[in-house]
């Protein structure tokens, strides 16, 4: 079992990772961040992506889809942004956010690793 810090460290080790954050989308605040720096303000990303997650959750409710979001992929010109919603008991309302360099990242591998990080995470 990994805590928040370990999980973020593992996320930062994903090939091509630029930054990662564990975000509470009920408040839009990050529980923890790693990497990012000047080029990517992770607190801005946490707040902004909270709106993305909330919009999708609401859309699914309105469509009457009785399902849940596993992850959301946003493809930019030079980056991939992956949002993985956490499902475990005690971590509902949280998502893991990772920004990846498109040239260095392997998307399938990144999703697989994120799934593993989620499974190990205990909050």
């Amino acid at each position: 079992m990994a805590n928040t810090e370990t999980a973020l460290k593992e996320a930062a080790q994903i090939e091509g990772a630029i930054g990662a954050a564990l975000v509470d989308y009920t408040s839009g605040m990050a529980l923890g961040t790693i990497g990012g720096g000047k080029e990517l303000d992770l607190n801005v990303a946490a707040a902004g992506n909270t709106d993305v997650v909330r919009a999708k959750v609401r859309t699914m409710e309105m469509l009457g889809l009785n399902d849940e979001i596993e992850d959301i992929l946003i493809t930019l010109g030079g980056q991939y942004h992956l949002l993985r919603l956490l499902k475990a008991r005690g971590s509902a309302g949280l998502f893991l956010y990772v920004a990846l360099d498109k040239n260095r990242a392997n998307l399938a591998m990144a999703r697989h690793q994120l799934k593993k990080i989620e499974a190990d995470l205990e909050i």
Partner: protein
């Protein structure tokens, strides 16, 4: 008496920024639709500009000044430096106060579902802008 006169003169000068501050408050409410009210008050509790806090603006401003006093002392006593912001979460929403320059504060009311991360980002930017407007108005010489 002299103090009262000075305060009144100061407030009059601050009020010259009212129109611009109000524009900033409206801009902020447009960016954060879950805000239910916004006001700017002087640090001693007088309303400088307000948007949608009708009726209770005066008392919110006065209470903000009281909370600001406690917040300042608390930050000071615990060695955290000058006052920056204060967030109160009630059962039905939030009240947030941000320092705006040296002599004013920005107080916002928000729905319980608001994205607090975004609230902080937008309000910090706005309070800096309002601080510039109010401090700028205070620096301008009163023509009389």
């Amino acid at each position: 008496m002299r103090r009262a006169l000075r305060l009144r003169a100061e407030r009059r000068q601050m009020m010259t920024a009212e129109a611009e501050v109000l524009v900033e408050l409206r801009r902020l409410r447009a960016r954060l639709p879950q805000l239910t009210g916004a006001l700017t008050a002087s640090a001693d509790g007088l309303v400088l500009a307000q948007d949608a806090v009708d009726g209770e603006a005066e008392s919110v401003a006065a209470l903000t000044a009281a909370a600001l006093g406690v917040g300042q002392r608390l930050a000071d006593t615990t060695g955290q430096g000058g006052f920056r912001e204060l967030l109160v979460r009630g059962e039905h929403g939030y009240v947030a106060t941000y320092a705006a320059g040296g002599s004013a504060v920005l107080t916002l009311l928000a729905e319980p579902r608001i994205n607090v991360g975004r609230l902080h980002l937008e309000a910090r930017r706005s309070s800096a802008r309002i601080g510039e407007l109010v401090d700028g108005a205070l620096e301008r010489r009163d023509p009389n």
